[in-house]
Amino acid sequence: MYYTKEMKDSMQRVASTREFRMTQELPLLDPVQKVDLLESYHPDFIEDVFRKLKVGPSKGTLTPKEFADLFEAKSVLDPEGFDLSTVDYDVDVLVVGGGGAGAAAALMAQEQGAGVLLVTKLRFGDANTIMAQGGIQGADKENDSPSTHYLDVFGGGRYFNDPDLVEALVKDAPEVLAWLEKLGVMFDKDSDGTMVSIHGGGTSRRRMHAARDYTGGEIMKTLRDEAKNRGIDVVEFSPVYELITDGETVTGAVLYNMETYDFLVVRAKTVILATGGAGRLHVAGFPTTNHYGATADGLVLGYRAGVPLEFMDTIQYHPTGAAYPEQLLGQLVTEKVRGLGGQLVNTDGNRFIYELETRDVEAAAIIRECSERKKGITTPSGYCAVWLDTLVIEEKHGAGTIKERLPAMYRQYQRFDIDMAKEPILVYPTQHYQNGGLKIRPDGETTIKNLYAAGEVAGGIHGRNRLMGNSLLDVVVFGRRAGIAAAERAATLKTPGKLTLDHLKRFHAELAEVGAADNRVAPMLLPEYRRPETIEKKLPVLP
């Protein structure tokens, strides 16, 4: 790989301090230092990133501008004239989203005897779940307990979490791991069956379970396979474009077939939004680790229908996004690298933060190193970054550890002729996770009857900062819970609901009143990565 002279010189300094760093103990920050660091450097505390919402159930709350643009946008559907009289699908439970939460929900809903339809914008499995590398938490060891897990989650979330949701998360965790084990997820285990578990940022026990560093991939492939085996109906490339209500409760959804450009009507007794996250909005211009379809669609749908949002003013920036080579910009360097002993090092070769602080603190420390302290390394394309010294891992655990326990990472860098067992890598924070989302109860139901939400689209579980390994856990825990609850509710509803877009009429009227919408429409569905020159020349001939 090509390195500038500045980079090469700095790499030498990193090498020369390695021996010292191997035994160097850095303390955890005390609570005051932590708050000070966050408030000075974390993007959540930069005023200009946010604005107050002008409409909807969370009117007046601070939201990143990129989200607000979508929440204050119209639907392309005209609620007065849109024809809902032809029902294309009639189901008990409609699951919207084909990631981990959607798959878990569909499996559990079907197990309760419900007729299930799963619809998804891209392919079944195209989701942030499949990209999750590092692991899944669960307090299953002797020296650990769900209460200890609770405390870690709560402190990590800066004490803002919804206690009932945290309780559900930590108490279901062992059962969720057992369920996945039984379905045949290939967890890392010792020869006696003991799950291999390591630390993640902010864990007080080694509670991170993994399937090498394809943990989410292995879980997603297994759940998807099981859904196919059990004959669950799946419609791909057909996102929900709008929910259908009877004015108050949810009764179905309008699908948009992205390949034939037509709309379809689903009548459903209950609907589960499992549409995932929003990294592709690129809040404050950050790159992202998220998949192509992470555009906040479910948040928009739920919000218009009347579900309040929680903690939308907090975004998780993963501290270690790839910063070089540029082709990898923003992609995840799993926290497991630090869990295994990888060290964050500045241009002088010095560590500047204990590596297993929570993600918000780590991100803020890296930003401080690159901004105020000017101790970052500049890449050829002008980005600032710090080193993640991966060689420490091989020194600590033996040669070959990286290839063995971080195969995805190793391959990722090999593709660009970087051997991370022999060279440190460059990292900078990247938009990773939306800590907030639609408000839910522990069974997954939102404040709108018969509408459920699970996974990243839901908020409250992680407070203002999520810990590593609690997202994979969250999607399965709340996916399962929503699936069960939505199926049970559906069984009690005998007559099909009335299909209207009355909620949209109300929302459009509210927009008109405050003059908020301009010409924007939402949901976004796909991000735009074509050049402005191309878009300017585009003619509206074919869709």
Partner: protein
């Protein structure tokens, strides 16, 4: 410094693109907006398997569009979907033997050991080796060797025996994990403890605490040493 440009042929059509882009970003530069053929953009989902050839070379090469750099005179096509056979089974009822694989995917018998699948793998997996392991009933080896599979489908697209390797691999991993790998006994024990309500009181008391109390507890918690 003027940008270095390359000519690429997307399904036969020429575009000038900067030469330091991946295939995916180069196609977006050229004006494509992906619907299919683009998923995670980070080599985890297998949506963007690509077949390409360079000028003066008859050989077909493979890569993931999100990872592979463009080259001058590159002729490429994404294969965003492959209609491979997927058997239905209940992993619970199966035994981790060759018979389980062959009953659901009898075409595995037809493997010619030509190694075309291995050459077609953008993840550099020893695909033929794991198919042969599955055929011998070495399910553990098949599971281990296939672990990094993204299910992009390029192997199956090239296989003269019409084996759908990635589905065989997933079956093997599920068989191995369910029936060969030893069970996590500590997990089973913990699930029972949770069901019996062992932690309910502790959690209820944590839930009842105000922020100051719980913060005090959090800041004082002992941290297990790392590995």
């Amino acid at each position: 410094m003027a940008e270095q440009m390359a000519t690429i042929y997307v399904m036969g059509k020429a575009y000038e693109v900067p030469s330091d882009l991946t295939i995916m970003k180069a196609m977006e530069y050229a004006g494509y907006r992906f619907l299919r053929g683009c998923g995670c953009r980070g080599a985890f989902c297998g949506a963007c398997g690509t077949v390409y050839r360079t000028q003066d070379d008859y050989r077909l090469k493979v890569g993931l569009a999100c990872q592979e750099m463009v080259q001058d005179d590159m002729y490429l096509s994404e294969i965003p979907f492959f209609p491979g056979n997927k058997a239905n089974y209940d992993v619970e009822d199966l035994k981790p033997k060759a018979e389980a694989v062959l009953a659901h995917y009898p075409e595995v018998y037809r493997c010619l050991a030509c190694n075309t699948c291995t050459k077609a793998c953008p993840q550099d997996i020893e695909v033929m080796e794991y198919i042969q392991a599955a055929l011998r009933g070495d399910i553990a080896k098949a599971a281990d060797l296939s672990f990094d599979c993204l299910m992009c489908g390029l192997c199956a697209a090239r296989c003269p025996a019409e084996i759908v390797q990635y589905n065989v691999a997933l079956l093997c991993r599920r068989l191995y994990s369910r029936h060969i790998a030893p069970e996590a006994k500590h997990l089973e024990a913990r699930v029972k403890e949770v069901r019996d309500g062992k932690f309910d009181k502790e959690i209820a008391s944590l839930k009842a605490m105000d922020q100051r109390e719980i913060a005090k507890l959090y800041d004082a918690r002992d941290i297990e040493p790392g590995d």
